[in-house]
Symmetry: C2
């Protein structure tokens, strides 16, 4: 239970720190989101490198996504993604019914507008992990009722 | 092995972020150290609250310190403190022979001057945890050969 707590608490502090040191304007909010996303990107790159050290080569894109949903997610959030869907044309939707980084906000719709800053880091995390596996992507997140959350991964063909 | 990795990578990113956004002057370095220490303080407060939720009341100060060395340290760093010493007059020295947050720097003396910024967060972490258990303290850290590290806790009598 307390296993992922240090990470979770530190993640909250990072958000506080970044938001405290800046103005509250619209532009600045966008910049803060990018800052969090960039941090996540680099953490994702580092983590995936360590996690895939001894794994076999991935068969295809879907195989990579399954690894993200299982091993990668478990390493960071101590649970797997609950549902993975794809249109088989480069779009994947990862659904987490109880996303840990939203766990400290009240469930329901009350704090929905606070959600983006709690998701930006994780969007970067997934993008960074995929990027180090040679998959370029755009990752966005969507919440309709906390603490459930969907991450949409759009693969960028080169 | 990879269990503490998300926390460790995020911790590194936080240091990069704080140091990147500021000048490199002496005063600024001191301020960055405080920033990290403060973050650690709040994380320590949150963590200890969660960890002690179901534990019995502590007998005395030494009992509290043992909890920090075992349960608290294991929660954050996946290992216990290797050695705890005290002069029985309010000074405790916690020695970690393989401190995780120094693990990504080369062992030995080469990067010694980089060590303080990798220790500040943890000093705050211990101070925050103790503070929430009603023990006021000053926590400093000392490295002679990486990745071994000593944390000195001076209890402040009120």
């Amino acid at each position: 239970m307390a296993d992922e707590a240090p990470f979770q608490f530190l993640h909250n502090e990072v958000i506080q720190y970044i938001y405290k040191s800046a103005d509250s304007g619209e532009t600045e909010n966008g910049r803060n989101i990018s800052r969090l996303e960039n941090m996540g990107f680099r953490v994702g790159q580092g983590l995936i490198e360590r996690l895939t050290k001894d794994t076999a080569r991935f068969k295809d894109e879907l195989d990579v996504m399954k690894f993200i949903c299982k091993d990668f997610w478990t390493c960071v959030f101590k649970k797997q993604i609950d549902n993975l869907r794809t249109n088989h044309q480069g779009i994947y939707v990862l659904q987490d019914n109880k996303f840990r980084l939203l766990g400290q906000l009240s469930a329901g719709k009350q704090y929905l507008e606070q959600a983006p800053k709690y998701l930006a880091f994780t969007c970067g995390l997934v993008r960074g992990a995929l990027s180090n596996l040679g998959v370029k992507s755009i990752v966005t997140a969507e919440v309709s009722i906390m603490p459930a959350c969907k991450f949409q991964v759009m693969i960028q063909k080169t």
